[in-house]
């Protein structure tokens, strides 16, 4: 596997004067091609800030970011837009489709932005939509599509230009269980491309079974970086911290070869990390988990 993205010592300060806060406090991260990495963490932990920096939307206060070997720090807004255009595809929580354009036009627009026009671009847009199973919905407007279908259009838009990095922001948060699983399966599928890395920010535990790698961020620092143990037949990817295996949700769509895990590394922040053992889960949480498993079934 080759590194698609390398970030070193990324610090981001937001605000000014007395209101200034350090959203990221020195993040080192490398994303390898052919992997689906999940970035998890509580609200305010710096997930979205990190995603924005890795996506060349924000510039770091300190540190380096290289995408496809290209330095993305200290560049102008137009230069960053150019890097995004050439290297990055985005999938957003609320899909961010253009309501006045059809599915096919939405995908074509992303190609048009890159200067890809004409019949070839139209064919590539169709191909991308076919890849996500929407060949029959080319001429439908977003308002006539389900949330799952809209997110699949967004995935098609992200992959149409064959970027080396796909960044997904809570891709399942607005979807029900079934659609969320379908979209994650799709994202997992596109991450298998050996020329592409996928990073998804998520709160959703349903996404865990699909991950090749799980990064936890808290208080602006990466507190754990794990590769779930592959089951027989999968190529081994050693976890960097000791995983605590948990039973996989019963789901036909869940890749059987990936053992979902819950990883916990002591955070280096001043806030004490939760040390509650699994058996101390509250009754309410148990009920929630039971419901979720039923949903998966």
């Amino acid at each position: 596997m080759s590194a698609v993205l390398e970030a070193q010592g990324v610090v981001k300060e937001l605000g000014q004067g007395a209101g200034k806060i350090r959203a990221l406090k020195g993040v080192d991260l490398t994303l390898e091609a052919g992997e689906l990495t999940l970035l998890m963490g509580p609200s305010g932990s710096g997930k979205t800030t990190l995603l924005s920096i890795l996506g060349c939307i924000l510039s770091p206060t300190e540190g380096t970011v290289e995408i496809g070997g290209e330095n993305a720090v200290g560049r102008t807004a137009e230069d960053l837009a150019d890097i995004r255009r050439r290297h990055i595809g985005f999938v957003f929580q609320q899909y961010n489709l253009f309501p006045t354009l059809t599915a096919h036009e939405n995908v074509r627009l992303a190609l048009d932005v890159r200067g890809d026009r004409g019949t070839a671009a139209s064919d590539r847009a169709k191909e991308a939509l076919t890849k996500v199973g929407l060949a029959h919905r080319l001429n439908n407007y977003p308002r006539n599509m389900s949330g799952g279908e809209q997110q699949r259009v967004a995935v098609a838009r992200a992959i149409a230009s064959a970027p080396s990095l796909i960044l997904a922001d809570e891709p399942t948060a607005a979807l029900d269980t079934e659609n969320g699983r379908a979209v994650m399966a799709l994202i997992k599928e596109i991450s298998r491309d050996k020329s592409r890395a996928v990073l998804a920010v998520t709160h959703d535990p349903r996404t865990l079974p699909f991950a090749d790698r799980i990064i936890h961020i808290e208080d602006g620092r990466i507190v754990s970086d794990e590769r779930p143990a592959p089951s027989a037949g999968e190529s081994a990817a050693k976890p960097e911290a000791t995983p605590k295996p948990a039973p996989p949700p019963a789901s036909a769509d869940t890749p059987a070869t990936i053992a979902p895990i819950i990883v916990r590394v002591e955070p280096q922040s001043s806030q004490p990390a939760s040390t509650a053992p699994p058996q101390q889960i509250s009754i309410r949480q148990k009920r929630k988990n039971r419901k979720r498993r039923k949903g998966h079934g």
Binding site: I57, R84, F90, R108
Partner: protein, 375 residues
């Protein structure tokens, strides 16, 4: 895709599109009417001067316009005729006079005494009767626009100018007066008689140059020979008349002011609707930016929105303006629409909409693509 996105953004909100188009329509109609009136006024002011076959006009000193000029003494004609390079000198008489209607009452007219056979100023666009009928006894020619104001209805009807009897011999079309006092053509001698003027007096001397290329030099020679008169080329007399009626009286300033007001109103309305449309589509523009579009790409979308609004608004506005122009044709204050004015209005509309897009472009330039993660 830029054009498609711009069009879809535009028609997505029909109510806002309607407001935009109504704004542009009002603006176009207002500007078209004001500038059309200006052109109409210009045509009326310079109509006589442009239609006279003269390279040079000799007037009394300080003559303001065709209607407002003093009388020449009569000696000027001989001075002009003896100047090298002069082919012909034709006197005409122009003066305000009173028209007494056959059924009672009177109105002010501008009496034009001319002998068309001498190659001076002949009535044009004769639509009823013939121009040569002017030589018949008591004959006058009027424009059909004014026959109701003159209290006559058909050829052969009689009236009085000052104390002399006149008979309507022919009607013209489109010879209107900016002063609202109708032009009445008659022969030179009859006009002198009606106005009780000496036989050799005239208001203007129309000079035909032997060599049209020699006009500037001829003007200098005539000026030297006739120091008590104004010697003006056709263009200079047109300019002086326009200056007097349109700018010295303030009439033209009001028309141009109205046109500028129309432009400002249109610009503000289009700017407001474009800005609010851009604000509504801000998330989409942020998404475009996040997808890597250059700011130029987004500016083009907004400019196309402005351009399409301009085009649609222009077509509707011009359709309404043409209806107004049509209905004004037979009035004493016609609105003139020329191909140049129509093309100019299109350019003005596009310019107005482009200026309107500036506020929207400034808004979108400050867009933070990170907002796509904050929804």
């Amino acid at each position: 895709m830029i054009l498609k996105l711009a069009f879809r953004n535009l028609v997505h909100d029909r109510i806002r599109l309607t407001v935009t188009l109504v704004g542009i329509l009002f603006s176009i109609v207002l500007v078209a009417v004001q500038l059309g009136l200006y052109l109409g006024a210009r045509k009326m002011i310079v109509g006589m001067i442009e239609n006279a076959k003269a390279d040079i006009w000799i007037t009394s000193f300080g003559a303001k316009s065709f209607e407002e000029a003093g009388q020449l003494t009569g000696r000027e004609r001989y001075g002009a005729l003896s100047t090298p390079g002069v082919d012909a000198v034709t006197p005409i008489v122009v003066s305000f006079a009173e028209w007494r209607k056959p059924a009672g009452g009177s109105t002010l007219i501008v009496l034009v005494g001319t002998d068309p056979a001498d190659g001076g100023l002949a009535p044009w666009n004769v639509v009823d009767g013939v121009g040569s009928d002017l030589t018949t006894p008591d004959a006058v020619i009027a424009d059909r626009t004014y026959i109701r104001d003159l209290g006559v209805s058909r050829l052969g009807d009689t009236a009085q100018i000052e104390s002399g009897k006149v008979k309507l011999a022919a009607l013209t079309s489109g010879i209107r007066s900016f002063t609202m006092a109708p032009y009445i053509f008659t022969t030179l001698n009859r006009s002198r008689s009606l106005l009780a003027m000496p036989q050799d007096q005239a208001t203007f001397l129309l000079v035909k140059a032997s060599d049209p290329a020699d006009v500037p030099a001829l003007q200098s020679r005539l000026s030297a020979r006739l120091p008590g008169s104004d010697v003006l080329t056709k263009a200079q007399f047109i300019g002086r008349s326009l200056d007097h009626w349109l700018f010295a009286t303030g009439a033209g300033v009001a028309l141009i002011g109205g046109a500028i007001l129309g432009l400002i109103v249109g610009t503000v309305i289009v700017a407001q609707t474009l800005y609010s449309s851009t604000k509504d589509h801000l998330n989409e523009f942020a998404t475009l930016r996040a997808l890597g579009s250059s700011s130029g790409y987004i500016h083009k979308v907004i400019l196309w929105q402005a351009g399409l609004s301009a085009l649609l608004g222009y077509l509707i506005g011009m359709a309404v303006a043409m209806v107004i122009v049509h209905f004004s044709e037979q009035t004493a204050l016609p609105i003139v629409m020329t191909p140049w004015l129509a093309a100019g209005l299109l350019a003005l509309t596009v310019f107005m909409c482009a200026i309107s897009a500036v506020s929207a472009i400034m808004k979108v330039t400050r867009i933070d693509p990170a907002m796509v993660f904050a929804r």
